[in-house]
């Protein structure tokens, strides 16, 4: 047990994080680029039009992964913020900080692609149903979180206040995911190209699953790069403060 927890907490040490992330980043980046290129080609060229929705089903291959990443990035920020608040590890806060713009980006992608999918299939770009509304509120929490970091000069204080704000927003991240189960919303789960079993047809399932993996790899590459930048920025700040004294 001690070995497991030790190996996890070594990531909390900035020096260890730089060493370990530096070792895996090139591989992750290559994997991300390759899977994304293959995934895009598969989605656009290798999938049939849906018998009801026609070619608008192609939007699914970017909308669903973006929505999954949008929500899970927020969940990751909640966990990182909690660890940061409880154990006081600086890298933990920097993980949350670096994840925020990426998560906000995926949220915007999910909303824009959802609108462009919604108009031809539902007849409306936007509806105020539970899932869409909670996703929009989650986006505001992402933006508020980023703004708070930028507004406060002292990084330790910024980290703690932003972490608290992040925890409040977790309600909307949870609602974004489970709203479909709580209320009957216009937003369906997987109703496109359904088979008798109620699952997504294989012709859509495999490229979609592949695209979700591709999005995760892109996310990890972006996140590691971001955290490495933040660790260097922190070191830069402390060096400047030292030389100013």
């Amino acid at each position: 047990m001690a070995i497991v927890s030790n190996s996890f907490w070594t990531f909390a040490n900035p020096h260890n994080f730089m060493r370990l992330s530096g070792a895996v980043l090139p591989g992750v980046t290559v994997a991300a680029v390759v899977t994304m290129v293959i995934g895009l080609a598969w989605s656009l060229l290798g999938t049939p039009p849906d018998y009801q929705q026609g070619e608008t089903v192609k939007i699914m291959f970017i909308h669903v992964p973006a929505a999954v990443l949008a929500i899970n990035t927020y969940m990751l920020m909640v966990v990182a913020s909690l660890i940061g608040l409880i154990r006081g590890h600086p890298v933990s806060h920097l993980v949350a900080k670096s994840a925020a713009p990426i998560g906000a980006g995926f949220t915007v992608i999910a909303i824009v692609t959802g609108a462009l999918w919604g108009h031809p299939t539902w007849g409306a770009y936007w509806v105020w149903d539970a899932r869409l509304t909670s996703i929009l509120l989650m986006l505001f929490f992402y933006l508020g979180y980023i703004a708070l970091w930028n507004a406060i000069e002292d990084p330790n204080r910024a980290a703690e206040l932003a972490a608290v704000l992040c925890l409040f927003g977790s309600v909307f991240a949870v609602l974004s995911r489970y709203a479909v189960q709580f209320w009957s919303t216009l937003h369906q789960g997987t109703s496109i190209g359904v088979t008798a079993g109620g699952a997504l047809n294989d012709a859509y399932f495999y490229p979609l699953a592949f695209m979700i993996v591709a999005h995760y790899l892109v996310f990890i590459a972006l996140l590691l790069t971001g955290v490495r930048t933040e660790i260097r920025a922190r070191r830069l700040r402390s060096l400047r403060l030292q030389s100013a004294v």
Binding site: L44, K58, I59, P101, G105, I109, L116, W117, L222, R240
Partner: protein
Amino acid sequence: MERMRGAMSESWAEFFAMGGFASYVWPAYGAFAAILGGLILHGVRRNRAIRRELDAVEARRRSQR
């Protein structure tokens, strides 16, 4: 050959038409590419800028010692 090229460009035209939904599918993929591209560009640029500054400050500290 000429006919083959004609068939090729016809199938590409069909691909870009997206069954009449081109005005939804391509803007969606465009927004995806623009936002993801922006995130990547921003991440790489900021990383490079901070790294350069840090290297400069550390080099200055070494030379002062």
